[in-house]
Subunit: 362 residues, 2 copies
C-alpha cells in the first residue's frame, strides 16, 4: 500500500493506493472527522459488484449509508442530474452531517465532486475510483464538472476531495478496453514527466495486462504522485504548470468530439492526440524521429490506436475550432523536447496541424 500526500494547506489530502483495501475504507474515513452520513453516488453495475463490501466497511465504522444510482453514461454529467441529486440531498439532510462518496469512474467522480462543491457552499467528498482512468487521473486534483450541449465540462468548480482511495483489485474486473484507456493517461505521465515510468511501461506492459497487483499498484501510485506534485504547484491551472497535463488533449478532444464520442473513448482519443503532439514536436524540430517512434511503439503495444479511422480531416478541424473558441484566439499546444520534457508552444500554423493530422488519417 502506498500513501501519497497532496499538499494544499488546509485543503491537503491523502491518496491511498493499494490492493484489496476496500474493507479498510471505513476506518480511514473515521479519522477524517467529516460527518456521520455517507451519501454514495455510484451506478448500478458497481453497486451490484462492490456495494455490499462498501456498505459493510462503512456500517462497521458506524456510518449511516445511502446509495444513489446514476446512469452509467456521460449523459449523467448534466445540470438535470446534478439538480436532482441536490434536491435529494436537501430532503435527506435532516440533522445529519453528510459527506459524499463518489464510487465509480470519471463520470461519477466529476458529477459527485461538482454536487459536493456547491451544495451548502461545499460539503466534504471522497473519491473511491473504480477505473484505471479515474484512479490515475480524474479522481485527483479537484477538477469537478458537468457538461452542457455546447461542450464537455463547461460547468464546474475546483474543489478538492478529502481523500482519494484507490483499490487496484477493483480494476481486475475492467474490460481490456477500459484498462487500455487508463493506460493512455499513464503513458502520458511517462512522456511529460517521467522517463523511468516510460521505460517501465516499455518493459512491463504484459504484467499490467495480466493484472499483476504489484504492477497495477506501481503505475497508479507513480502516476498519481506526478499529478499530485503538479496540482500542488498550480491548483487552478493559472501558471501554465498544470497545463502540461493537457498533453495530447487539444487534438485528442477534437478527435473525440468529431467521432461524436463513439468510435474512440477518452483514452484512445488521447493516445492519438499524444502521437499528434509528438508529430508536431518533430515537425517543429523539437524532437527527432527516434523519440516519436518510441512513443508510437509504446502506444501500439498498449493496444491503443495509432491511426485515425473513419473520421475526416474537416470534421476534426471543425471540432478543434469549436473547442478553441472556449480557450481564446491563439492555439496552445503542449509539445515535447524529449521523453519527460515538455514545452508549451502557441500559435502553431494551421497548415502544420493539418499536415500531421493527414498523415495519421487512414
Amino acid at each position: 500500500m502506498k500513501i501519497i500526500k497532496l499538499n494544499l494547506k488546509n485543503r491537503s489530502y491523502k491518496i491511498v493506493v493499494g490492493s484489496n483495501i476496500l474493507e479498510a475504507l471505513g476506518r480511514y474515513i473515521v479519522k477524517l472527522n467529516i460527518g456521520k452520513d455517507a451519501y454514495i453516488i455510484t451506478n448500478a453495475a458497481i453497486k451490484n459488484r462492490y456495494g455490499a463490501r462498501l456498505n459493510k466497511t462503512l456500517k462497521n465504522a458506524a456510518f449511516k449509508v445511502k446509495f444513489r444510482l446514476i446512469p452509467d453514461t456521460e449523459k449523467s454529467k448534466s445540470i438535470e442530474i446534478a439538480s436532482a441529486l441536490m434536491k435529494d440531498l436537501a430532503s435527506y439532510d435532516k440533522k445529519r452531517r453528510i459527506f459524499i462518496l463518489a464510487f465509480g469512474g470519471g463520470v461519477v467522480g466529476d458529477l459527485s465532486g461538482f454536487v459536493a462543491s456547491i451544495y451548502k457552499r461545499g460539503i466534504p467528498y471522497l473519491q473511491v475510483p473504480t477505473t484505471l482512468l479515474a484512479q490515475v487521473d480524474s479522481s485527483v486534483g479537484g477538477k469537478t464538472a458537468i457538461d452542457l450541449i455546447w461542450g464537455k465540462n463547461l460547468v464546474g468548480a475546483f474543489y478538492q476531495p478529502r481523500l482519494v482511495y484507490s483499490d487496484v483489485n477493483i480494476l481486475k474486473t475492467l474490460s481490456q478496453r477500459q484498462l487500455q484507456a487508463g493506460l493512455s493517461e499513464v503513458i502520458k505521465y511517462g512522456i511529460i514527466k517521467d522517463p523511468d515510468l516510460f521505460n517501465y511501461l516499455e518493459r512491463n506492459l504484459k504484467s499490467i495486462f495480466n493484472l499483476k497487483t504489484a504492477a497495477l499498484e506501481f503505475v497508479v501510485a507513480r502516476s498519481i504522485a506526478i499529478k499530485a506534485k503538479i496540482v500542488e504547484q498550480d491548483e487552478k491551472e493559472e501558471k501554465k504548470i498544470r497545463t502540461i497535463l493537457n498533453f495530447g488533449h487539444t487534438l485528442g478532444h477534437a478527435i473525440e468530439a468529431a467521432s461524436s464520442y463513439t468510435s474512440y473513448n477518452h483514452g484512445e482519443a488521447i493516445a492519438l492526440g499524444m502521437l499528434l503532439a509528438a508529430d508536431l514536436s518533430q515537425q517543429l524540430g523539437l524532437i527527432d524521429k527516434e523519440v516519436s517512434l518510441r512513443i508510437e511503439n509504446l502506444i501500439e503495444a498498449a493496444g491503443l490506436p495509432t491511426k485515425i479511422k473513419r473520421i475526416s480531416l474537416p470534421s476534426i478541424i471543425e471540432a478543434y475550432y469549436h473547442d478553441k473558441k472556449f480557450i481564446g484566439a491563439k492555439n496552445r499546444f503542449v509539445l515535447l523536447k524529449g521523453i519527460g520534457r515538455t514545452k508549451i508552444v502557441e500559435d502553431i500554423p494551421l497548415k502544420i496541424i493539418k499536415k500531421v493530422l493527414k498523415e495519421r488519417i487512414v
Copy 2:
C-alpha cells in the same frame, strides 16, 4: 469617493463607493483586464432606469454589452434560471472573453455570482449593487447562492467578485421601505463592531432618510469597510470570525420563513432578530437593559419593526428548527457584551428563546 481594498491575496479587489460614479465604471473595468464582453444580469426595472447609462460607459470603454433580464423576485434564485443563464452564456461564448456584471439588488448579485463561479469553473464577475442592502452587505464577501425549496441559499459557492462598485446616487430612487431594510444591516455593523457608527446613526438618521449624499456615502463605506475586514480574516466562515455577521440572523431567518417571506422583508426580519439577540443577551446577563433600549430606540427610529405581528410562536419555533437542521444539533447565537462587542453562545435553552420571543409577539 471612497475606495476600500479587500485583501485576499490573488483574489483581492476594490470596493468603490461614491455618488454619481456610474459614468466612470467603464474606465475602472478596463484596468481589471478581465475581458471584452460584458454580460449584464439585471431586471427590467433597473435596466429601464439605468441601463442606458451603464451601456454608455461600457461602450465608451470599448466593451461589447449584452443585457439579460431576470424576474425581480427571490424565485429567480433557482437552479432553473441559473441553468438557463449558463446555457445562454455558452451559446453566446464564441471567441469572446466574457465577464459577468451583476446590476441589481441581492437576488441579482447572489445569482450572478453563482453562475460566474461555476461557468467554465469560474469567470470574472463584478457587483454593481443598486439597493442599500446589497451595497452594505451581499455585494461584498463572495457568498453566492441560489435557493432550493428546502431552504434559501442551500446551493452556492464562495467566489469573490473582481470589483464592487456602489453608486449611492442610485439609492435615491429606492422606496422608503427598501432604504429601511438596508439600514437594518447598517445598524447591525454598528452593534457588532462599531460604537461610533452606532452613535452616528443615532444622530443622523434624518440625513439618510433625506438622501443626503454625504450621509449615504458615509454609511455605505463604513459598513463595507467593517465587512471587508471580517471577510479578510475568515473568508469561508471557518473560524467563527465571519460568524458575527450573522448577528440577528438566527431568529431573523426563522421569522422571515415563518411569515413565508411576505409580512417582513429581510431587513425587517433581521431588525427583529437583532432585538431578540439583544433580549437574549440581557436574559443571560451579558448586557443591561440600557443597552437593549438604545438598540430598540435606534431600530424604531429607523422605521423598522420592534414587535412581531401576525406570526405565532409555534410557527417561528418550527422554522427555527427547520433552519437549525442544516447547521447541526447545537444552537449557536451571536450575542452582545455591549455595543460593538459580541460573544458567540451555544446551546441556549429553548425555554429562554421562547421567553424572549413571547415578549416581542403582539
